[in-house]
Each structure stands twice: as structure tokens, then as C-alpha cells.
């Protein structure tokens, strides 16, 4: 791009002077500037901002870009496109997250265990062989109408 090399992100800052220069480059205070740890993952000197989504930013402040809730020149989070208002939301929940997770896992595991038990030990209503009327459908099955059909009783008294 047409911006000079010293305005673009660079390698991890090693000396305090490099840190101060990087903080100035990113429009941050030197005390606020904290780069990602130098693990060789490819972050360079990009600042590690708090993992807060755009939902948590003040909706009533006059942002330069209201839909992104972002000001011109303000350093953007590395995962900025994940934290937009259509996507991941990190705003505080009314119920603590570990409580929600516990309730969800209890419900899910209960349902799965019950479904599993139902598959291993199925239970149906008792059934018997089908009973046909009219002496086991004697005439419909081609029995002679002149002959006496064999009496078929399906009950016992």
C-alpha cells in the first residue's frame, strides 16, 4: 500500500524504544500497548486488545463508524471480524456462563442417556396374531358357499 513501512505492522518489539514506537504507531498509550507473546505464531507487534465484542461498546456514543462501533484510527482487535455485531457476542449474561453450561450439559446428557436406554431396551405394547372375522374369512378366501365353514373361535370363556 502507499503507507510507509514504519506505519505498517512489523516484527515483535524487543527494546523499550521499539515498544514506544509501536504504541505510537498504533495510536495507543505506551502503558496500554501489549503485543501478543512472541511465540512465533505470526502476530508480530500487533497489540493484544481485550477480547470484547462490538456488542459491549457503548451504543449511544457517536462512533465514526456506527455499525462497527469503531472510530477512525482506533486499533482494531485481531479478531475484529469475528466480534462484529452479527457474530460472536461476549457481553455479560444474566446467568453466569458456567451455570448455563452446567444446566445445558445436564439436560443434554439426560436426554441422550434416556434415548440410549430406549434403544438398548425397547418396550412396546403387547401384540398377538391378527384375528380375522367370518370364520377366518372363509368365503373371501374362496371357500365353498354351500359347504359348512369350519367354526373358528378366537376367545375362551
Amino acid at each position: 500500500s502507499e503507507m510507509s513501512k514504519d506505519l505498517m505492522p512489523g516484527p515483535y518489539p524487543r527494546t523499550p524504544e521499539e515498544r514506544a514506537a509501536a504504541a505510537k504507531k498504533y495510536n495507543m498509550r505506551v502503558e496500554d500497548y501489549e503485543p501478543y507473546p512472541d511465540d512465533g505464531f505470526g502476530f508480530g507487534d500487533y497489540p493484544k486488545l481485550p477480547d470484547k465484542s462490538a456488542h459491549e461498546r457503548d451504543p449511544w456514543y457517536q462512533w465514526d463508524q456506527p455499525d462497527m462501533r469503531h472510530n477512525w484510527g482506533e486499533p482494531m482487535h485481531w479478531d475484529f471480524d469475528m466480534y462484529i455485531r452479527n457474530r460472536v457476542d461476549t457481553s455479560p449474561t444474566p446467568v453466569p456462563w458456567h451455570t448455563m453450561r452446567k444446566h445445558f450439559l445436564v439436560f443434554l446428557s439426560t436426554m441422550l442417556i434416556m434415548f440410549g436406554l430406549g434403544e438398548i431396551y425397547p418396550s412396546y405394547r403387547p401384540v398377538g396374531p391378527k384375528q380375522y372375522p367370518f370364520n377366518d374369512l372363509y368365503l373371501e378366501r374362496g371357500g365353498d358357499p354351500n359347504k359348512e365353514p369350519p367354526v373358528v373361535t378366537h376367545y375362551e370363556i
Partner: protein
């Protein structure tokens, strides 16, 4: 063992990577020591300076076609072109690279080979039931 002092509401809430602590439970939002105020004032000064730059460009009589945001350009550059120069092979990156790049290939190759061998063995033994057979 004794229960210890009762947990604060902030500790009971346990914020993590997915949810943040509400401002009402955060003690940082209540104390306004002089250092914090000075820090806030400095941040406000930076913000005001940037806003002034932006507004000057926006409301100038001859505004440029696009007002470039250097923060956006830096963000895009950092995520695309600055990754390879700053990458360094370490034990962690090598392990993760092997796990996510080579692992799936080996896994799926083994899975498909095993499946095909099993099918071939069944066909040779004559036990394979054709799924879409017309007969």
C-alpha cells in the same frame, strides 16, 4: 477445611473467554484514582486527536474519494502479509502445524484405505450386499 472468606460477586460470576464481567460487578469501574483519571485523560486526548483528523478530512471542501483508515489497513496487513515474516518455527508451532496440516491427511488416507480394504475383502468372500442393486 474451613470454607474461607465468602466469594465476591465478581468471583462467583467467573468471567471467561466467552463472557465478560458486567460493569456493575467490576471493582475497576468504581474507583477513580488519580492515575486512572490521568490514563483516561490521555486516552481521551488520543481519541480526540484522531476524531479531529477524521472530521477535518470528512468535512473539508474538497473531500477525498475515500478516507482511508490506517487502523484498517494495518489490521489487514497484519493478518495477511505480516504473518509469514513474523512466523518462527518453534516446538509449539511445529507440533500444531503437524497436527492440523498433516494429521487430517494421514487420518483420512488411513480411513479410506481401511474402508476400501474391508469392502474388497467382503466382495472377495462373496458377502458384500450391493446397496443400489437392481437385482
Amino acid at each position: 477445611m474451613a470454607a474461607g472468606p465468602p466469594r465476591t460477586a465478581a468471583e462467583a460470576y467467573r468471567p471467561n473467554r466467552f463472557v465478560s464481567l458486567p460493569a456493575e460487578l467490576d471493582p475497576d469501574t468504581y474507583d477513580a484514582s488519580p492515575e486512572k483519571r490521568r490514563a483516561e485523560a490521555e486516552r481521551l486526548a488520543i481519541r480526540a486527536r484522531l476524531k479531529r483528523q477524521y472530521q477535518l478530512q470528512l468535512n473539508s471542501p474538497n473531500p477525498p474519494a475515500i478516507i482511508e483508515d490506517p487502523a484498517l489497513l494495518r489490521w489487514a496487513y497484519a493478518r495477511t502479509q505480516n504473518v509469514y515474516p513474523t512466523f518462527r518455527p518453534t516446538p509449539k508451532t511445529s507440533f500444531l502445524g503437524a497436527l492440523f496440516a498433516i494429521g487430517p491427511i494421514l487420518f483420512w488416507a488411513a480411513a479410506f484405505k481401511a474402508e476400501r480394504d474391508r469392502k474388497e475383502r467382503l466382495i472377495q468372500e462373496g458377502k458384500y450386499k450391493r446397496p443400489f442393486s437392481l437385482f
